[in-house]
Amino acid sequence: MKSSDSKSHKSKSSDLTSPTSQSSDPEFSLFLGCIAPNRYPAIESCTELVLDKLGIGYEVMEEASCCPPPGIVRSFDELTWLTLSARNLSLAEGREIITICNGCFSTLKEASVILKNHEVRDNINQHLKAIGREYRGDVEVKHLVEILYSSLDRIKEVMERRLRLRVGVHYGCHLTRPSSILRVDSPENPRMLDEIVEVVGAESVEYDDKMLCCGAGGGVRSSSKELALTFTRRKLESLKDADVDCVVNSCPFCHLQLDQGQAILRKEGMNIEIPVLHISQFIALSLNYDAGLHQNAVPSERIVEKLEEKL
């Protein structure tokens, strides 16, 4: 087995009670995926800041590859999907993985369930042997949303300002579905994201099509941009009807579709401008941190002005 050369991040706070954050061996491996680091790095920096503030010890998985995605790559070749997932899981042996993306979460969690079967695992390990790795089958996978949800009290303690905003939360598909495998929250009426935004002072607004896909998943964004944008437009129109200040998501791929897709639709004449924030950015705002919103395609910094107005 190769040793990981990832950089360790320990909490900056000194008054923490969590044993993990004080440990030199962090409890979690942070899996960043592709879209956050390479298209929306503010999601990466906000995630790190929030975990630090909450006193959650982690190490960034710098040797990780693409998860790979549950729709597109799994649809090309199931064996390839499982093999690359197993390699990623093997990098975290001894720790739990935190993912910040629904696609990464769904892939790694489902693969971890499939790979509990030792016959399947042995077969995949035959391939991993060629690169000097082995997956032993004992890595658990969590989504950042689960970590935040189990830290609501701690968030209340460390938050520095209430975000008095009307928020439309967008769960996306692969945070809760397929529920028989992911077992996170209700697949029809989840509440975790709603409660997280509410704990920092926002109002989670109900809207039509709340559980509708952003349109990007399953390889559709790549093969049929028009179909993907049809979903996105419908979602954005419902959010506009609900008069939200912003939309908060748990997935950089949904984030990309809602933000870049919105920019395309605006060029085509759609009169909607809704800032898109990943949950890590939203919590970072409550910590009075610059959430890097200027890197969004849709003008999003006015959300900060709105916060000042509502103080």
Binding site: E62, S65, V73, F76, S179, G218, S222, T230
Partner: protein, 135 residues
């Protein structure tokens, strides 16, 4: 058997792609549909599976059909390009100079991924490279 379709149509009624495309998930389950246009209209949202009273793995079936089509050499060009990115860089959404600029602006390391060589080896072993036509 709990996996026999009773033709209730709840999968089709729950399918958002079905609102906008000819995809009829009930017909996919019945083995009547397997064209590229049909199976690649699915966004894998899993609403159909969640609601199926017989717990039929509808999305799994769609993914199986997609795998079969790829093995027959049927793949959209945009998908082949995405697959080639995975082969080249280990990522479907690879790092580029613009990523480096955005990252540096936020005080993050310009680039911190190291996976390409190992992924390349694995993609040869699984047959993905020859499947996609990259090698």
């Amino acid at each position: 058997m709990n996996d026999v379709c009773i033709h209730c149509g709840i999968c089709t009624a729950s399918c958002p792609s079905g609102w906008y495309t000819p995809l009829v998930t009930r017909r996919v389950v019945g083995g009547e549909v397997n064209t590229m246009e049909d199976v690649w209209a699915c966004v894998t949202c899993y609403q159909c599976e969640e609601r199926c009273p017989r717990e039929i793995k509808v999305v799994e079936r769609i993914i199986e059909i997609r795998n079969e089509l790829v093995r027959e050499g049927k793949i959209f060009e945009s998908h082949r390009e995405a697959a080639l990115k995975l082969i080249e860089s280990g990522r479907i959404v690879p790092w580029n100079e613009k990523s480096g600029e955005l990252r540096e602006e936020l005080g993050l390391p310009r680039k911190r991924e190291k996976c390409a060589e190992e992924v390349k080896t694995l993609l040869k072993l699984t047959g993905f490279e020859s499947l996609i036509g990259g090698g």
